[in-house]
Symmetry: D2
């Protein structure tokens, strides 16, 4: 009865790991499979890695790619992991292009590979909101869900918050 969910991986802090030879953070493969196994997730999901980039370095071409993949995707429920710094920008572009799917963007403040990550909590949240919310583009972080219209990342505090709606 439950519908299949698409998960698009785009990189971000969520999937960074530590290179013990260079001492730098880098991308290797996604940790999504292990994470869902850890959560004993039994949802029917289809995982696809679109790119592995830091969202600060995400170009228009890459953002266009994400939008195009969401347009072409036949499944109606989509979760996207994304770097938090420009997550809102991608959410705006998705809203302009798509209105018949439920799309949830999520990420992590600490890499999933490190023990103390919020990634498992955020994925539990994103996969639940995508099943329960109507069509639209949303950001799920910190247990909260935001409509893409009025959300911003507070980079000083490292949290998402509603924008003042003074228009």
């Amino acid at each position: 009865m439950q519908r299949k969910i698409k998960i698009f991986i785009t990189g971000g802090t969520f999937d960074k790991e530590y290179n013990e030879l260079s001492g730098e953070l880098y991308f290797n493969n996604s940790h999504m499979y292990k994470l869902l196994e850890l959560g004993r997730c039994r949802l029917d999901v289809d995982i696809e890695t679109l790119m592995m980039v830091d969202s600060m370095e995400m170009s228009k071409i890459e953002r266009d790619c994400i939008v195009q993949k969401c347009i072409e995707e036949p499944l109606k429920q989509i979760v996207i992991t994304h770097g938090t710094d420009t997550m809102v920008d991608t959410a705006h572009m998705l809203t302009d292009a798509i209105n018949d799917k439920t799309i949830i963007l999520t990420g992590a403040m600490i890499p999933v590979k490190f023990g103390s990550s919020d990634g498992l909590f955020n994925m539990g949240s994103a996969l639940s909101f995508v099943q329960a919310l109507p069509s639209g583009v949303f950001i799920a972080m910190n247990g909260q869900v935001f409509n893409q219209e009025n959300v911003q990342k507070n980079k000083k505090l490292g949290i998402f918050e509603e924008t003042e709606l003074v228009k």
Copy 2:
């Protein structure tokens, strides 16, 4: 804009820990605060420990207590952590007594205190469904959500599944 959420703790595998002197599993304090901190949860929650029991040993008096606390609770969104073995029984009793609140029961197959627990994922899920679903009593486990009417625990596989609706 987001509403405050009540979290009732009742014990179960979720909150068990290892007693290194006796070598047995036991209950100490709840790990909910640390878990929400790890998930960087920014929801406005009110946590209350009702009991700390293994759900196999939960008596009718204790189940009545949970129901009574949910009836008296002014908040309309309630998450209950509960042992998985009799979670469905408590869900049935809650449904008979309450119809104006969204109540989500969740738990864990591995104690939160042990590194490899599904508890963080399940809480991310439960706290999201409680915000998004209408009034009713639900079980959120494994990323899935079940209406209390047609769910059972498959004890051989350690998962929740829909019952055959042969009425």
Copy 3:
């Protein structure tokens, strides 16, 4: 130049894990390989599982087996993982039977499989003492090393300590 080290596994808290279907602690396979990988151990070791028992339930036959295996072992440096409750008893029996090898018994107060175990620290310690100490039977726990002659487990505190040598 470094010599090969024998590791005998006998069970104990070190190797216990949580059975998520029954909710009980049990023995499955040893976690020694994963532990040494985590420690990036580059010692030349030969690991052999002799038994998987709680040391409270270790019979004379099983203790005789451990002694016999240590007698027959050609390698001169041996580490034994063992439940802490009767580790001292086995150490005494080993001393009576063997005097040309360095044997270190160690264990854990929390199962290695659980995130917060002391097992990795204790194995780092045991594998170092076995290389550096002369022939004899020793217990390595809590960073400390004890001669089997004058050590006892303080079961109230869950630690090993020197016995008063008032004979």
Copy 4:
């Protein structure tokens, strides 16, 4: 009967952590206390943070400081946590200056703060070798111990190994 051990902290990968606001690795406070607590270490230790630097950026002034502190230290058993890249250089300088103490340098390939670190294993090892070895300067990594005279870091493999003794 056991003697007190001095632990000098100098930084290195061992103590790095992830800054969730900037997305970069940085130094905050040392994780030594938590690590020894996790290992249930019961040794009498005196911990002192000398600096918090990446060993690639360690200047001669800082290395002189480490040597001077070891000279002035009244305790005869000293463990130093140090970045692995120039650990051998500091070991050479210590050997030239001190000959009446047992000094063990150790570190980690993965930060202790991340779940999958070798730091706990290495500290178990270093604290054991410092008790068991005679005076001299040694490097303890990967369960192995090396005399400072003939050790080098193999930066391709991220391990320590004996140098060819072609003199």
